[in-house]
Symmetry: C2
Subunit: 206 residues, 2 copies
């Protein structure tokens, strides 16, 4: 596929396809048409086929897709075919909630440690909590695939800078602020307030 | 503006404009150009002006926008100019984290109660926790503007159905499942796993 740039719209649909295929697999469904997937996503069957063409296409014309095969290919494309060590910066409500979120571990995203400026509990469930002063040594000794930023807004930027300086290449950001990172660092933002404001917009316009 | 349909892309940019204007206001900046806003959002200045034209346009050509005025107009458009009573269904990690999230209260989104099948603590901070058997009476007596669904995936649909039947018109859904609701009910989904899978995709493709 060379250096083809996949659009953001397609990228954002990929996890949704994956989720629907998980559901179909759990229901014991072995084959699915582009039309059915299209209905689940709210796009056209043609869009579904175009999306998969970006990655070589996975079905046989007129036959549809093998659910297990398509799910496996999507897992590869999404990078879900390997485990990831995650650390969470910020042991407040959000950080602790994420540390306990069972769905992540099921897909290979293992929360290994929480860090905070103040260590109130040494453990959240099975996950150890360390002071921020231990962060550098921890990352140097153990590595870190993904760092979750679950701090207050006002320190998120500095924390991101520290993580990047320690060689962390992937940030999942829950703080309501845009992070400036080098181009080789991947960032995803969960903008909770923005989602809530879209909801209040929709309420006003129903 | 009549019945003009505003695109999803525009709707999703509105809270980001609002956040940037809050930031500018905090920094003491009183005027901003479409070019500056464009840079903050990663779109063109022309897109910014087009976005605001959907709502009547707010600036003077060549002059830019008054920050306080634009923020106020966006607050109106987003429905942030009134308080909302929120209840949270699910007093697990996510529900408790949301109950304690201070940013919401600052914008008028007041968490009034948590509900769960099992009440382990009668209070989370200042927020009372009630059994699900109390939900119907609570909503009938107090009303509810927004219900947050922070339950396990397998009960989210039923919970949504109960809330809709009780007259709740707005659902903020944290469960990884699509909710089927009548057309007069607003829904926003926070799909955490999907965001994480987009991150693993980006890591793989850097």
């Amino acid at each position: 596929m060379g250096n083809k740039v996949i659009s953001e719209a397609v990228i954002k649909r990929l996890p949704r396809y994956y989720r629907y295929l998980e559901h179909l697999e759990q229901e014991g469904v072995t084959k699915v048409s582009s039309g059915t997937l299209a209905g689940m996503l709210g796009v056209t069957a043609s869009q579904v086929r175009q999306d998969f063409c970006n990655f070589g296409g996975f079905g046989q014309h007129g036959y549809g897709y093998d659910v297990a095969y398509l799910k496996r290919k999507l897992a590869e494309i999404l990078g879900l075919d390997r485990p990831y060590d995650m650390i969470i910066i910020g042991a407040g409500n959000i950080g602790r909630a994420l540390a306990g979120y069972k769905n992540f571990a099921a897909e290979g995203f293992r929360v290994k440690a929480l860090f905070d400026v103040e260590v109130k509990d040494p453990l959240v469930g099975d996950v150890p909590v360390y002071g921020m002063d231990k962060l550098a040594d921890y990352v140097k000794q153990n590595g870190c695939d993904i760092a979750v930023i679950a701090t207050q807004k006002n320190v998120a930027s500095d924390v991101a800078g520290r993580l990047v300086a320690l060689g962390v290449k992937s940030l999942w950001n829950f703080a309501p602020i845009d992070l400036e990172v080098p181009s080789d660092v991947a960032v995803e933002n969960i903008a909770m307030s923005e989602s809530l404001y879209v909801l209040s917009y929709r309420m006003k316009n129903k």
